[in-house]
């Protein structure tokens, strides 16, 4: 049944995401074209005025392109929320919640499709930026620039950072889902309630994160300062700083994972035991 749900949700969301991404790819190609045109234009034959106009147009287009890049990222989130709200809470929920599937399967499908489109948007963005830079950036220069980074930072740390990014994406999506699930319990004003719940959750999460960060790094700084009194203070401090960041990352991942489990459970429980399609 999950495969069927995935097919259904993918079909429904494709009509939102595919046009957005196609426009983005087209805009990227136009941006690239304008850039190449500007770079290849010869001032002697074209005249200074034409170059200035081309420069202005290219600069304007580049600004719009960057805005559209951020708009794409924002629209990805909006489309995910819109699809969930429409199919799980509004009129289409009559179809969704009468399908012979469990609430867990419904939620798993929504999460997987959301994650899929977030990854696709990220990939298209990266490819677009690389395409934009292609032909003007020396690959060897890039390798030389990043070499110290990869030399000094352990691979495990990079993997941990990647895991942290993935967990954050999933947690972000589930925060929206859980907020809407709680909001839908208020049959009269589900949207406003969902917004209020989301705002409340974010405030609590941000305050907790800030308190924990201050506590953690205060203790890290204390240790760093106190360890400076020893003869091999630089080595000790460096080791602690590196391990400190490691520990910080691991703790962050664990907290995010715990939040994922919590928000998943809340959303699934509400739709399984407290559903209120009015």
């Amino acid at each position: 049944m999950l495969k069927k749900l995935l097919k259904k949700d993918l079909t429904a969301t494709s009509r939102l995401f595919v046009p957005m991404l196609l426009v983005y790819v087209t805009a990227s190609l136009i941006a690239k074209g304008l850039l190449e045109l500007f770079i290849s234009a010869e001032p002697e034959t074209s005249g200074g005025g034409a170059i200035s106009l081309l420069f202005i147009l290219s600069a304007m287009y580049a600004a719009m392109f960057i805005l559209y890049l951020f708009a794409c990222i924002l629209m990805t989130v909006i489309f995910i929320i819109y699809d969930f709200y429409k199919t799980m809470i509004k009129e289409e929920s009559y179809l969704t919640h009468t399908l012979p599937v469990s609430s867990k399967q419904l939620l798993n499908s929504k999460m997987m499709i959301a994650f899929f489109w977030q990854c696709v948007t990220m990939l298209v963005t990266i490819v677009s930026v690389l395409m934009f830079m292609a032909g003007h950036i020396n690959v060897e220069q890039i390798k030389e620039f990043f070499a110290p980074v990869f030399r000094e930072i352990p691979h495990s740390y990079l993997i941990l950072s990647a895991v942290s990014t993935v967990l954050s994406l999933i947690c972000g999506t589930l925060t929206f889902f859980a907020s809407m699930a709680i909001g839908h319990l208020n049959g009269k004003h589900p949207l406003i309630t969902s917004i209020g719940v989301y705002t409340g959750i974010r405030i609590v999460m941000n305050v907790s994160s800030a308190v924990f960060t201050v506590f953690f790094f205060y203790n890290k700084l204390k240790y760093t300062i106190s360890s400076a009194s020893y003869a091999n203070r630089h080595v000790t401090a460096n080791i602690y700083v590196n391990y400190g960041n490691y520990i910080w990352n691991i703790l962050s991942c664990l907290c995010t994972a715990a939040l994922i489990v919590f928000f998943y459970w809340v959303t699934q429980y509400i739709f399984a035991k407290k559903i209120n399609v009015e």
Partner: protein
């Protein structure tokens, strides 16, 4: 024989308001049952509880002996009182969807009924008239060989000719070993097809009886009794 629909002490509150109060109702297979009551009597609430769109405040409700869940949803064919399909889908896409999810969905029957209505399967739902959209939804519902059909106000807001079509479609396409529960306040139109009637008043069952028994006992038609029971 396991009752197809059984609710025991079902209560549903919306805040302080009780939409349903201590409902006890059992329906046997193979019956056409009218769930009758004025607006706000709790008909839609009871039907949505059976469809799995609401959860009761207290009490138990089972379909074919099972609590509401994926298994009961595979046995229940639900026709809501609102349009719930995505406008961007074509008729054939919706048929594919139903065929995918419901094992008891008869695609051939659905296509035949659509052909008779001259509805193009490739047409998008949003381009259909309201009446045709409702007919498509009805066809999808009645093309399933379900154990329980929950029809919420199927003839509300339609013209008399359409009402006849709807009732005819219901009668000629349902699984005869299953049960139909029709909620309506247009009694005179449905009375002729009903086996049983359940009167719902202020969230409680005031009468549950076979239609013939009602006529014998009260010497009135169901419609006349309804007007008397629910007189303002």
């Amino acid at each position: 024989m396991t009752p197809v629909f059984e609710c025991s002490h079902i209560t549903k509150h919306y805040g302080a308001k009780a939409a349903l109060s201590d409902i006890n109702l059992t329906l046997e297979p193979g019956r056409i049952v009218g769930l009758l009551g004025p607006n706000g009597s709790g008909k839609t609430t009871l039907i949505k509880l059976a469809a799995g769109l609401l959860t009761s405040t207290s009490g138990t409700l089972t379909i074919c002996g099972e609590r509401i869940g994926p298994l009961t949803k595979s046995k229940v064919s639900y026709l809501p009182d609102k349009d719930y399909l995505s406008g961007w889908m074509s008729v054939s896409q919706v048929i594919d969807l139903f065929h995918d999810f419901y094992e008891n969905f008869d695609r051939v029957k659905a296509c035949e009924m659509l052909n008779r209505l001259q509805i193009d399967p490739e047409q998008k739902l949003k381009t259909l008239s309201k009446g045709n959209r409702e007919k498509v939804i009805l066809i999808l519902t009645m093309s399933r060989s379900a154990d329980l059909y929950l029809l919420d106000e199927p003839i509300g807001g339609v013209d008399p000719a359409a009402r006849d079509y709807i009732l005819q479609t219901i009668l000629t396409n349902y699984n005869e070993s299953g049960t139909i529960l029709i909620s309506t306040h247009l009694i005179s139109d449905v009375e002729r097809i009903l086996d049983e009637a359940v009167f719902l008043k202020n969230g409680t069952v005031s009468i549950h009886s076979a239609v013939d028994d009602i006529r014998n006992q009260y010497q009135k038609s169901v419609d006349e009794l309804f007007r008397e029971v629910f007189a303002c």
